[in-house]
């Protein structure tokens, strides 16, 4: 934790280590601390460690804001009339990052706002993935589309959007199977899902889930997924744990993909719009 008193070399080292411990990465940590040291020098010194810490928080929040993070988009309460219905959102990400649970959260929160919602079970690979999403759909009381285990995910996705249209849904959320960004055939499978959806309704949103406990590999994940898929938002999950997902700072800076939501638990209430200041504060503590 960052101590009190005047900002000196010891405080600088403490802050750098706090940032590294938050998974921000050694080079960004060094850069942020060096920048702030320059700022202290030009201010003539005599600055407290606390002031420096707040300055770094602001710098980080600015990076996170720069791409549009934290501007929670207007979510129409009763249907999206600015574009053709339904609004289609697809969830992608590595294995275990929280896609299925997040799809359920998004669906539940949309339903609570009065939207007519459909969940599409396009993870046709993993054991009981369809069951898992079906249970959520039942709990939420929303529409549900699935096919058999092993069905073509693109076909299920298409089916889900088509059903969404014919059932007058406002929102369709499509869950997909987990995959590592290094599995090129599985990345190609997702590209095909997007292409096939393009025939009926290209996704309005493609959200990439990122587990907050992920270290530096998070950067590779975000880079690779967004290279071949129209990723327009990040969702940092499991932020209720002790990990702080510092890796998104570099990802947002480089790739300009906004963080839209954070997952803070395992129930449908546990999804919050991204707050850059609160997030930055946690990184520097």
């Amino acid at each position: 934790a960052v101590g009190r008193g005047l900002f000196d070399d010891a405080a600088a080292e403490q802050i750098e280590e706090a940032l590294i411990e938050a998974d921000i990465g050694p080079e960004i940590a060094l850069r942020l601390v060096e920048d702030v040291r320059e700022w202290v020098r030009s201010a003539g010194g005599g600055v407290t460690a606390e002031t420096v810490r707040e300055k770094i928080e602001m710098d980080i929040a600015e990076i996170l804001r720069g791409s549009g993070s934290g501007r929670s988009e207007e979510i129409p309460p009763n249907g999206n009339h600015s574009s053709e219905q339904p609004r289609v959102t697809i969830l992608v990400g590595v294995n275990g990052s929280g896609k299925t649970t997040t799809a359920a959260k998004l669906a539940a929160q949309a339903a609570a706002r009065g939207s007519r919602v459909l969940l599409g079970a396009a993870d046709t690979f993993r054991a009981a993935a369809i069951d898992q999403l079906r249970v959520w759909a039942e709990r939420i009381g929303c529409e549900f589309v699935a096919q058999d285990q092993g069905a073509d995910p693109a076909a299920v996705a298409f089916d889900a959007v088509q059903a969404g249209k014919s059932r007058g849904c406002d929102e369709v959320f499509i869950d997909t199977a987990g995959r590592l960004h290094t599995q090129t055939n599985l990345m190609a499978e997702l590209e095909k899902v997007i292409r096939v959806l393009g025939k009926i309704k290209p996704p309005d949103h493609c959200f990439l889930t990122l587990d907050a406990t992920t270290g530096r590999n998070g950067l590779q994940q975000i880079t690779t997924f967004s290279r071949s898929l129209p990723v327009d938002g990040l969702i940092v999950t499991k932020l209720d744990g002790s990990a702080r997902a510092g890796v998104v700072v570099e990802a947002v800076e480089r790739l300009k993909i906004p963080v839209r939501y954070v997952g803070v638990g395992e129930t449908v209430e546990d999804l919050m719009p991204f707050d850059p200041e609160a997030f930055a504060r946690e990184l520097v503590r």
Binding site: E17, G25, F125, R216, K238, A243
Partner: protein
């Protein structure tokens, strides 16, 4: 690459041809960044580099290699040693008088349920016990995987009582050679769930308590492992999703600080995607 960068740092310095106190500093800094980028905990990096420095300065300067190559070898050997290369490969703790009981625990999404099936596939003669009563479809997931690996599936005796289900499973499982318990993912900071784990361990009295950890876990890996270890004595670590490109520095942090042996790695989603841990191979991976 790391070696190219090290060649540069050594070439630019005086005393080229011998590792000394002065020219080793930039090299140590390069390794520090490499290890931090590999997710090794920053405190472990500090302590690890102290050991590297001692060995590098104390080592015989070989005529046939560049200081950079020699330095990399010292780092790599020290990594492998820390990961267990100089010890006999860790074995499964078998129970001499009944089923070998293996309790799996870890954070949400780490790969526990899949790991349970993988261990059943590896060890054979196993029954899988479903103790995740929380996650939708978790019991079904384990049931399907048990079938895939031809292991017996022991469903929860009471889907609302983990402790009772654990007790009943012990009774049901007496005839099996291996009893593998899958549990719900939990945060190490969740007091209620950590207490539940302690109680389940008290009931099951496992021969192995395995922390299942994602290879891409960052700096928090050490905190997670230490906290679990304080509550239940971990006997093994299993690192999952090593088929990705995460460097896996978490393994070094945990081994360095807690000494918990890394017994297995997950190398894919299928039940046969499990291997025993190889310290040398993993050292190369961490170093990148």
């Amino acid at each position: 690459t790391l070696t190219e960068r090290l060649n540069k740092t050594f070439r630019n310095l005086a005393g080229f041809g011998k590792l000394n106190e002065e020219n080793i500093q930039p090299a140590l800094r390069e390794i520090r960044v490499a290890l931090l980028e590999a997710d090794v905990h920053f405190r472990v990096v500090k302590s690890f580099l102290e050991n590297v420095k001692k060995r590098a300065l104390g080592s015989e300067v070989l005529e046939s290699v560049t200081p950079a190559d020699q330095f990399v070898k010292v780092v790599r050997d020290e990594l492998a040693r820390t990961l267990g290369a100089e010890e006999p490969p860790p074995e499964l703790r078998k129970n001499p008088a009944g089923p070998t009981r293996i309790l799996l625990c870890g954070l949400q999404g780490a790969g526990k349920t899949t790991a349970a099936a993988k261990l059943a596939h590896l060890l054979g003669k196993s029954a899988l016990v479903a103790l995740d009563l929380k996650r939708p479809g978790a019991v079904e997931q384990l049931r399907v995987m048990a079938e895939k690996v031809q292991a017996t599936f022991l469903p929860p005796a009471d889907p609302s009582d983990v402790r009772l289900s654990a007790r009943k499973a012990l009774e049901e499982g007496r005839a099996f050679e291996h009893l593998i318990f899958d549990t719900a993912g939990r945060l190490q900071i969740d007091e209620e769930l950590m207490e539940e784990l302690v109680e389940v361990a008290g009931i099951v009295k496992p021969d192995e308590i395995v922390l299942v950890l994602d290879a891409m876990t960052g700096q928090e890996a050490l905190n997670v492992a230490e906290t679990f270890h304080k509550r239940v004595p971990l006997t093994a670590l299993m690192l999952t999703k090593t088929d990705g490109d995460a460097r896996g520095g978490a393994a070094l942090s945990i081994r360095h600080v807690t000494g918990i042996p890394i017994k297995w790695i997950g190398t894919g989603e299928r039940p046969d995607a499990i291997e025993s841990f190889h310290p040398e191979r993993f050292a190369d991976r961490i170093l990148g």
